[in-house]
């Protein structure tokens, strides 16, 4: 009797503890419920529910919301501190704005700034600005970065190309290109990363690594970032920074 009852009581306790833990996890610091993470289905529905975006209207949103102060006049960040958004995938930009708005993406003070901005935007504006960035050519590396990022040596290039194209089976790291595309062009909610600023790239990987950013639906970046060394990340950041448009291609 006792041996039979104990596991049952134990199961009940465990269930109660699990429920308590999950309700605690739902409660954010101000007692407001934590934003609900996406499932592939809810995300698909939410993106589909956005009105159709218009790139020309998105340019006006970009101007009126003063996006250029960090992301640059035509979506090319002027410094390494901020991401370039030119050429970004529509779905990715739209998802980020929805994530900032809900607080799903809230990794640091910079994210707090974007939350304030996203909450001032209508769904139409979110769709428009996402369409605008998607209509722009891929980014040009900031001037400061061009001077700073020494070209990859042959040895470095070989190493990073292995990671980018083949991954590392020993460490269970999938090739970057398998989600981000052969040229870092991204797909759907997987961001384009060609030409991305190095500091932003490195910071993003660190935030995933530390679990401070976890709004990736399939937990891909969250996992792979655990297994990449700092040296790997720096190399990959430099590699993708060099995959943007060259300075000379920049149209003024």
């Amino acid at each position: 009797m006792i041996t039979a009852a104990f596991p049952a009581a134990w199961r009940t306790l465990t269930l109660a503890a699990a429920l308590l833990a999950s309700s605690l996890a739902q409660a954010s610091e101000h007692g407001k419920p934590a934003p609900k993470p996406w499932s592939p289905v809810t995300l698909h529905t939410a993106l589909g529910d956005l009105p159709k975006g218009n790139a020309a209207a998105g340019k006006a949103v970009h101007d009126s919301m003063m996006c250029a102060s960090c992301h640059g006049a035509a979506g090319n960040a002027a410094t390494m501190n901020w991401p370039s958004v030119a050429g970004q995938r529509y779905d990715y930009t739209a998802k980020m704005l929805l994530d900032y708005r809900s607080g799903l993406r809230s990794e640091d003070e910079r994210a707090g700034l974007m939350t304030s901005i996203a909450r001032l935007m209508t769904p139409q504006q979110i769709a428009d600005v996402s369409a605008y960035y998607a209509s722009l050519p891929k980014p040009v590396a900031p001037q400061a970065q061009a001077a700073l990022a020494a070209p990859l040596t042959a040895v470095e290039y070989k190493r990073v190309e292995q990671l980018v194209r083949k991954g590392d089976a020993n460490r269970l790291i999938t090739a970057c290109a398998s989600c981000h595309g052969l040229h870092g062009e991204g797909k759907g909610t997987t961001p384009a990363i060609a030409g991305q600023t190095t500091d932003y790239f490195i910071r993003t990987m660190r935030l995933y690594h530390n679990g401070e950013r976890q709004n990736d639906v399939y937990k891909g970046m969250s996992q792979f970032s655990q297994r990449l060394s700092d040296a790997d990340t720096l190399l990959i950041a430099r590699y993708y920074a060099s995959q943007g448009q060259s300075q000379t291609a920049k149209a003024d």
């Binding site: 919301m65 003070e109 304030s116 001032l120």
Partner: protein, 445 residues
């Protein structure tokens, strides 16, 4: 945490090493840079010199062991932040960037033997000296006013510190329906939109906590830098009716008001110029008459910080003449004057200006030591200001040396547009708060 920091350091070092190639020196010891003043200008210069060349021996002479930031300090008055929030540590500069600090008052300069002597008698030799002493408030410029009164009864709070706390206490405990008078300073002064932001923030705070209170700005001037956008904000938030000369331009945007406004701005031409303080009766006498008040905040005339005078770096204007292209003093070689004390023409006396000047001087010095040409300077400034807690505005400028040899603006648009959307206005306030954080990190972290 630890791995994160190591990661940051590793990437910073790796990137930094590429950005700033080590300076080649034929067997000579690394240069000694002494910086007098650990405010925005001095601290920025120290950090960016070390970033550019970690081998430089950089020493800051500063009398206070903790920095109390003046930018954003009016937000103590409306209880948006606390005095504690203004405190900024020098620890990162010392331990992360390797800047040496001497916590002592700088006393005198020997420009021939290139030494600075401190109050306690320490003598520091330098190859290059950067002086960034901020401002000195001329308490005696208003008859009846004094530093002693400012410390005890009629605070200025324009250099953040105990006077800020005193003023906050006076304002927050002002009697019901009392009058707060702010005496605005004559040009030139530190933080051009600042006095007006302070008055507006208190008008907003009083509207919630002391709704019958009045705020009066007694001004020795007829205009200020962000006046149009600020007056429009005051109109929307407090029912303020701008003076006649602003009404034509703002007309279509102004809202009529039925109630008298709690905020009053008395321009010089309306008799606003402060002439004398009677602290006993708490009366500010202006050109137009006497104003009796419950709390008086005097922002007096300003000149270069005392150190600039002690070092013989000032001219008759009370500020320091510099070669525009380098900010090197025209009076002493190898001495650079940056920030509020320098004469930088149309560049305002702001923390942002001091920061951008400091970065330029760090470059002039490191390139100079390495025998490189630092190129042509471009400076910038942004002054954010609030008309209310959630109503931001700004002036943003880019500067170059013009044909007349003076620093001039090269941009056209400067302000938040008058037809800014509510989202832009709200965002400007968000940016203002973000700027304070980012700016502090740029300098001190």
């Amino acid at each position: 945490m630890n791995s994160r920091r190591q990661f940051l350091l590793a990437s910073a070092t790796a990137l930094g090493a590429v950005a700033f190639p080590a300076i080649a020196r034929a067997g000579q010891a690394s240069a000694r840079i002494v910086i007098v003043g650990g405010g925005v200008g001095g601290a920025t210069a120290a950090k960016y010199l070390k970033l550019a060349d970690p081998s430089l021996r950089v020493t800051v002479i500063e009398k206070n062991p903790v920095y109390i930031r003046p930018y954003g300090s009016s937000e103590v008055l409306n209880a948006h932040v606390t005095m504690q929030d203004l405190r900024v540590s020098y620890d990162a500069l010392r331990h992360k960037h390797g800047v040496a600090f001497v916590f002592d008052a700088a006393k005198s300069l020997d420009p021939v033997n290139k030494t600075v002597t401190t109050a306690s008698g320490k003598v520091l030799g330098y190859d290059k000296l950067i002086v960034s002493p901020g401002i000195k408030l001329r308490y005696d410029s208003l008859p009846g006013y004094s530093e002693q009164l400012a410390d005890s009864q009629v605070p200025s709070g324009w250099i953040a510190g105990a006077q800020t706390a005193l003023l906050a206490k006076q304002l927050q405990s002002m009697r019901d329906g009392g009058t707060f008078v702010l005496a605005a300073p004559p040009n030139p002064y530190r933080c051009p939109p600042g006095p007006y932001e302070r008055a507006a923030l208190m008008t907003e705070w009083f509207s919630k906590h002391n709704p019958r209170a009045k705020v009066i700005i007694a001004d020795p001037k007829d205009s200020f830098v962000t006046d149009e956008t600020a007056l429009l904000g005051w109109n929307r938030l407090y029912g303020f009716q701008p003076p006649a000369e602003y009404r034509t331009k703002l007309a279509a945007k102004l809202q009529p008001s039925t109630q008298p406004c709690a905020l009053e701005w008395i321009q010089a031409k309306a008799g606003g110029t402060p002439q004398r303080l009677d602290a006993k009766t708490m009366t500010l006498h202006t050109a137009g008459g006497a104003i009796k008040a419950d709390v008086i905040n005097i922002i007096p005339a300003m000149v270069a910080g005392q150190i600039a005078f002690d070092f013989g770096l000032t001219n008759d204007s009370g500020f320091c003449p510099v070669h525009r292209a380098t900010f090197e003093s025209t009076l002493h070689k190898d001495v650079y004057v940056i920030g509020d004390s320098s004469i930088a023409d149309v560049m305002p006396k702001s923390g942002f200006s001091a920061n951008t000047q400091a970065k330029w001087v760090a470059r002039v010095i490191t390139d100079g030591l390495a025998g490189r040409d630092p190129g042509t300077p471009v400076w910038e400034n942004t002054c954010y200001a609030l008309a209310g807690k959630d109503y931001g505005l700004f002036v943003a400028d880019v500067f170059k040396i013009k044909d007349d040899g003076k620093i001039g603006r090269i941009n056209k648009a400067r302000y938040l547009p008058l037809d800014a959307t509510p989202a832009q206005i709200r965002l400007s306030a968000v940016y203002q708060q973000a700027w304070i954080q980012a700016f502090t990190q740029d300098i001190f972290a």
